[in-house]
């Protein structure tokens, strides 16, 4: 019993000087894993205006609009649930998922991505990124 009471003190001190599991988020970011689901990105050149993405979208986040004499989907980030259905159904492989998840805007209108903005490639990842790797089998996941 005495050992059970004293041992946690040493464990506590040992953990206090270990590397933290969480990261200082705005300054350091976790590196997104493969098949990460972030903002949907459109490749305008490949789009064949088939409307299948608009039909399949469960939240009606996509809508066909006219853009440079062509019907192109427009994307509402506020409605999107990142379900990946549009990416799966696209016959021309024009849609893809990126790792961008910060959609916040000051207005509701700002959340709507016109085809021009929809087709822009995702912003580069922040300079400092950390990967998650299984090192400590006793404690599960830990940072490299």
């Amino acid at each position: 019993m005495v050992v059970d009471i004293i041992r946690p003190f040493f464990l506590g001190f040992y953990h206090a000087f270990k590397r933290t599991f969480t990261v200082k988020h705005p300054f350091v970011r976790l590196k997104p894993t493969d098949r990460y689901r972030g903002r949907v990105v459109l490749n305008i050149d490949r789009c064949i205006s088939c409307r299948s993405c608009v039909n399949v979208c469960p939240n009606k986040a996509l809508e066909m609009v006219k853009f440079e004499k062509k019907l192109i989907p427009q994307y509402d980030a506020g409605r999107c649930c990142l379900c990946n259905l549009c990416v799966e159904i696209c016959p021309a492989i024009a849609l893809s998922m990126s790792y961008e998840v910060e959609f916040s805007e000051y207005t509701r209108k700002g959340l709507i991505h016109t085809p021009d903005r929809f087709s822009q490639p995702p912003k580069p990842i922040a300079e400092k990124t950390v990967t998650v790797k299984i090192l400590d089998k006793k404690r599960g996941v830990a940072h490299k």
Partner: protein, 349 residues
Amino acid sequence: MIPILSFSEFIELILKVLIFPGLAFPLLFAMIVIWFERKFLARIMLRIGPLHVGPLNRTGLFQPIADFLKLIQKEIIVPDNAYKFLYNIAPIMASIVASMSVAFIPYAPKPDGGYWMIYYTPLSLLVILAIFTARPFIMVGAGWASNSKYCTIGALRAALQLLAYEVPITLSLASIVIMSGTFDLAKIVETQSSIWFIILQPIGFIVILIAMMAELSRRPFDIPLAEQEVVFGWPTEYTGTQFALVMVSEYFDLCAVTSLITVLFLGGWSGPVIPLLNDISPILSGVFWFFLKMAILTVIIIMGRGIYPRLRIDQLLDTGWTLLIPLAIIQIIITLLTAQWWLPLVRGA
């Protein structure tokens, strides 16, 4: 009759009351300990803790100040059914009572005799014990005056816990008084000049440390404030400044308790003289050792929150009545039986 003070005595009194053992010291202690507690517990749990506020890069050093500023901006909400006088006065009383015992603790000896403390009395240990005894009344009063179920349950739990743990504290103080032969805290420190009481009374030290953790309702013993069961116990209904006062009073209590244990068991200010501090003022060297011992005790008391699972209320009362009280009595018996051995060590020839 009020004694007439000379100018230097007056300055010294102002210094004592406003800065060192007085007003500023418990506040600064509370601020540093709140920050340290959040950061250190976060590190134990492999988190980062407070990050943004403060001068040093990404330490969150001023997080307690930011929290306090936020709290004093908030509206004070008094429940409709509350007994308003008691409800409003309880947090103020809590912080006053908590910081009051600091006045009776000697922090360092002065070179011209006397001690660096606000009010000297030969019965300071009894006074502090009396102040500690006043705390459950404030908790019960606040919980009853709030007139809500969580507050009432929390107040009753506080009464149960604080009563159960006051007895072992008093008993282990008894063995200290037997050994030193005085209720004067300054004299108790002076009797420890050759050997600290933690070596002569290890059982008493452990009993008083555990009982004080329970008395402060720190984490493994947080039955009165159990967030999982009763929202926040007796201070649930308090908002804004009143809540800030309740929170700060907890840390004032921590300050008083660590000071008291330092004086009783760790030899108070005694330690080798540090020449650099001694040149500035002979008091500072003693104060440095006092702070170091306080800091170690604070770390031990804070760590309990991160490493131990909570006790149920029956386990808690069981520990108090059936484990700590017999241990304290055993300590008294050992102290009395070995009197011939420790008497020359403690009281001189």
